[in-house]
Amino acid sequence: MNTVWQVAAREVRTRLFAKATIISTLVVLVLIVAGVVAVKIIADNDAGSEAERVGIAAETADLGPALSAAAESAGYPIELTETTTGDATTAITDGDLAAFVSGDPRAPVLLVEDSPAPELLTALTTAAQQYVMSSAITDLGGDPAQVGTDVAAAAPTVEALSTEETEFDPYAFIVAMVTCALLLFTLLQSGSLIAMGVVEEKVSRVVEILLATIRPAQLMGGKILGIGIVGLVQLLVFGGAAAIAAAATGLLDGVDLNLGSAFVWMLVWFLLGFALYAVLFGGFAALVSRQEDIGAVTTPMIFGMMAPFYLAIYLVPNLPDSPVVRILSQVPFFAPFMMPVRQAFDAVEAWELALSIGLCVVFVPLLVWLAGRVYSRAVLNTGGRMKLKDALAR
């Protein structure tokens, strides 16, 4: 065990403090923080957009309160200013006013530059209709305010048979996407680091000295452990940066979301995904003898990672509860990508989670055995690329 630790420590020392790693980590870090800030800005623009200035003529001022209320509820807040047609025309041309309302409150005239915002038009229509209605009620001897309250109270109550929440939650979606993307990035990065490390040792022939001293399993195990630690540190940094940036910008204020548990689950799935994929990268990389040939081994593996990733980000959010998703998310290689998304959508039962983790845990030793076999047979083979069949034979 001590030997494995020595190997792992070397990997951590040479990888974590390598210039390339530090630079790429910083770049991703900047991207994450910038992304969070960008999302925040877009969200602000969407929700709390500034009130438009709308002018209103004195003779139409009675419409004012109703217009403001209607526009507000249509998601188009306005700020009313009393003005004259002459002033308003100039202001609209200059862009100081969005529109000008004038004329008889029963048939108001809306003056705009070219075309009115649909929300404003609807709001004005509603306001005018309300005005007509109120006048009619007053004329009939009724109380418009009382009628208004009654009308507002006349709403149906929905009683659904199914209690399941099917509402699309954009925040859960964002968290799921970020988790998936970070998983893919760190798994790809550590996978290729492992592959490159294995081939580097083969190319430089240092593997011969090492294997005269330690077992192939110790060498591969230490390498995977060390690079796993590097990946975990990166993931902690990235995930932490995303969480801190989100908290600092107040992006997730008032959103019912447990970031802490999302983060812990991301680490769990990283560990399982890493155990599944990293071992294979290590084993198969031993088949080639030159850095140029790495692609032949890693490309199929990268595609093998993309499939569950895309299924996770496209299929799961749309059908979080479908049988296909439920079954696929139990398959070891799919689980690390699909489960976090299902969890983010709250569409997973505890037993499903336990089962998929259990399956991964059972599957990992099998993979370790397979990859270890390929590795120890192939790692001293120099020259061309060794066929998988030959490495497994004997």
Partner: protein
């Protein structure tokens, strides 16, 4: 300290028999030279000894027990294909290797300092291996084989690529280690060096040990050769001497072969020469390791030719 035994190793790569019953042993404190042409099986033998390759049959023992991983950690190995992490600093790399062999951090540091001093690369400890010249990389590689205070040394061509000064340093190190009781095996094509350094030599050909013994033993032949320098002797003076054949007669110098006769038989040659002329030089001509090696290799060629003829 104990004996390293290579016992009847066999290894085939497909149809090629790389080793045929390779057997020899190296005593404690002995330097064993492993000689043979390219592809004769030296490297294969060493790789098997270090557990890097698996033999088809046969065993490597140390101290009477099979050389397992635990004991292999006490072996200093220099592979034929040099290997170090190119982007790792010399000092860091050597410390790492020493620690892999089970040394404590403090011991490893001290050993790295010691061996880089001895091998003259102390000033390069902070440099990446790939920035060193080939010769200095070679010195670092040697340091890597020695850094963990090995109890056995197996070195594949430790002298190739070294300058004469480094060769001397390395020879000194090997002698010193052997004096400390470490059995040492090394292969080399620099036969003069092998002759100078080794207690015993094994010559391999086609995966088989064809000659094995101390240099003296190997140089002892059934017939002996003598060189006589007799300036005034007439040409052909030695032609009729009983039991001898003239191999070479060039001016003053005559080389004769004395077949099978016992000790003292050469005195007859000296007397015959003295009868004709003063004798300036009278020495036995012993075959050098190079001669022996050529002999073995030519036998190899002859055998190969014979096989080809059969095939044709």
């Amino acid at each position: 300290m104990a004996t390293l035994e290579i016992d009847h190793l066999n290894k085939s790569y497909g149809t090629l028999r790389a080793l045929k019953d390779m057997t020899f042993s190296v005593e404690s404190g002995e330097i064993f030279g492993f000689v043979g042409s390219n592809g004769a099986g030296k490297t294969t033998t060493m790789r098997i000894a270090l557990g890097v390759l698996r033999p088809d049959s046969g065993e490597v023992r140390w101290d009477g027990r099979p050389l397992d991983l635990q004991m292999r950690r006490r072996v200093g190995y220099m592979p034929e294909e040099r290997g170090l992490y190119p982007k790792m600093k010399v000092g860091e790399q050597l410390t790492y290797l020493a620690r892999l062999h089970g040394m404590s951090a403090a011991d490893a540091r001290a050993a790295v300092e010691h061996w880089t001093e001895v091998l003259g690369v102390a000033t390069r400890r902070g440099d990446e291996v790939q920035k060193l010249s080939l010769g200095n990389q070679q010195r670092v590689q040697l340091a890597a084989a020695l850094v963990h205070d090995p109890q056995v040394l197996v070195l594949d061509e430790p002298f190739s690529g070294l300058d004469p000064v480094a060769v001397d340093v390395m020879s000194g190190v090997l002698r010193e280690r052997a004096a400390a009781g470490v059995p040492t095996v090394f292969s080399s094509h620099q036969l003069d060096l092998v002759e100078r350094l080794c207690d015993r030599v094994g010559i391999v050909r086609g995966g088989e040990m064809v000659a094995l013994g101390s240099i003296d033993e190997l140089r002892t032949t059934a017939t002996s050769r003598w060189r006589v320098v007799a300036p005034d002797a007439p040409p052909g003076w030695a032609d009729d001497l009983a039991g001898t054949t003239v191999l070479e007669a060039d001016g003053d110098t005559t080389v004769l072969e004395l077949g099978g006769a016992g000790v003292g038989a050469e005195q007859a040659i000296l007397q015959a020469a003295l009868a004709h002329s003063p004798v300036r030089e009278f020495t036995q001509v012993r075959p050098t390791l190079t001669d022996l090696f050529r002999h073995v290799v030519s036998a190899d060629d002859a055998a190969a030719a014979a096989t080809e003829e059969k095939a044709a």
